[in-house]
Subunit: 308 residues, 2 copies
């Protein structure tokens, strides 16, 4: 799957992943109204609104981008019905040829970690049958529990030719509280980064490994160091746009070949119509605003990479 | 909810939580067969088997124990239908008067962490209504992302009078890979433990805070240190039984008042009938075997506490 992701990035010339993190306040009123009219102000109504909203965005941008990253928390908060919308979104994006990165940040140990890996990337045994559950292409994983938590994911990745992105240095202001603490003079995120490189060496694709890393756009200097520590790992870069990361900050996350990183934008794309820059589209044409925002982001990154 | 947990522990005299982590291999054949006969070898059939199996155990042990801890990964691997079984289990256990600790190990940042907190402990806005989603009483949380990931949980805990258990030192063999690394001469888990104490001081119940910690029974010496560092935090102790933790190891996790810790056992209870010690019950009476295993565990812990 990492080979497919790289190929799609080359083809679209857009190292971009659109974060499908649907908050109710992003969803245009006409979509919410229609869903509530059909199902009432219920969890099912909310799930329907999310699904229709997502579908509009995916239809408008799928030809421009290699991948999407639905954030499962935004669906899970609506319970079972929210997760039905998550699953519909995953399946629809795959139908449209997109690589789907499940932003699930799961992590546990042993058989429990294997259950998460199976839930999101693998197949589960039911009697004599093997059935997929959520079936994304990649999942994000939390490393705090160590190798016991990661190895079950690697096993499933090898079996299914899928991949993971491990949290290394997250984009939030307080990420340094634990991640930056010095261990023998080096920050914890570097120690985790080295493990990512080792784990990745156990499952290599053509040029990159099945094991990527999450490193926030908000920490470009740390990104530079981590880029060197994990040369074969794709870096998933959140924090561009709304969280303050800029195009120029992104160059450090890429390798010399212009590959090695994929930059996420969530609300900057999916709620573009709520920004002054794109308000002329209006809520009715929210998906066209998203398309324009993808084109602008693609240009911003291309310029930054050309200028280095 | 921490007050209610403490009260129930005192009343049952059992600082025990039963881990409802249903693996298919634990479920007696007669239950699996009946479920597959009704729904086929499908995810729905698996969900039904899990639910019937859980219900049998809960009916057999609910009067002996204060709490249960369903491990969501074991349900999530069966997709939507698995999560339907999870939700049914949560609701049923609450009906039976049990405190429900959702072992979800979620953790993210900002609005995403808030969405997880809402999903598991709070209520979500749908139009003009506020609706609960999974609605457990406690949830386990991963601290790797720092305070930005924890504060949204604290907010929901305060609103809803619920609680969290933060991963501090996990029970698995490789937990030391990152958690034991020395920072200014002290292991990372102590640094996290100190933060747990601080976060807890922001939301106190009567004697204990809403913010507990997960510390593995397999590391009793570290438990002793952490007990002192977080005097107002309940410690959720996994790793007893199948993972090798013994009754005698547990004393360090308790305060002098005999409170402050709750010990989890999963397969040791729910799959007791598969152990030599309880095989006389047979698969048909698996729930009676679970009841006996709870009684034995209660005795084991009581003896260890009496002997200190």
């Amino acid at each position: 799957m990492i080979n497919r992701l790289v190929e799609k990035i080359k083809k679209t010339e857009a190292p971009i992943v659109v974060g499908l993190d649907p908050m109710m306040k992003f969803i245009p009123e006409h979509i919410r109204k229609a869903a509530f009219l059909e199902y009432g102000e219920t969890l099912k109504g909310a799930g329907e609104a999310i699904w229709q909203y997502n579908k509009g965005i995916v239809d408008a941008v799928y030809d421009l981008i290699p991948a999407v990253k639905p954030q499962i928390a935004m669906y899970e908060q609506f319970g079972i019905e929210g997760l039905v919308a998550f699953k519909k979104t995953v399946d629809y994006c795959k139908e449209k040829g997109l690589v789907v990165i499940g932003d699930v940040k799961r992590g546990d140990i042993g058989s429990t970690s294997e259950a998460y890996a199976v839930a999101h990337l693998g197949k589960v045994a039911v009697g004599s049958r093997m059935l997929p559950a959520f079936d994304e292409d990649f999942a994000t994983v939390n490393p705090y529990l160590g190798s016991d938590g990661i190895q079950p994911f690697l096993k499933v990745c090898k079996e299914e030719k899928k991949g993971i992105f491990i949290l290394v240095k997250t984009s939030n202001p307080s990420s340094g509280e634990f991640q930056d603490r010095l261990i023998d003079g080096r920050p914890l995120y570097e120690i985790v980064g080295e493990k990512v490189d080792q784990w990745g060496s156990q499952c290599m694709g053509e040029d990159y490994s099945y094991v990527g890393a999450v490193v926030g756009a908000t920490y470009p200097e740390m990104g530079k160091v981590l880029r060197r520590l994990m040369p074969k790992s794709y870096i998933l870069v959140p924090g561009y746009g709304a969280q303050g990361g800029k195009g120029a900050d992104l160059v450090h996350f890429f390798n010399e070949d212009g590959l090695g990183a994929i930059v996420n934008s969530s609300r900057g794309i999916i709620a573009a119509y709520q920004q002054e820059k794109y308000e002329k589209f209006g809520a009715a044409n929210y998906a066209d605003a998203s398309r324009q925002a993808v084109l602008d982001m693609k240009e911003d990154i291309a310029q930054a990479l050309a200028g280095r």
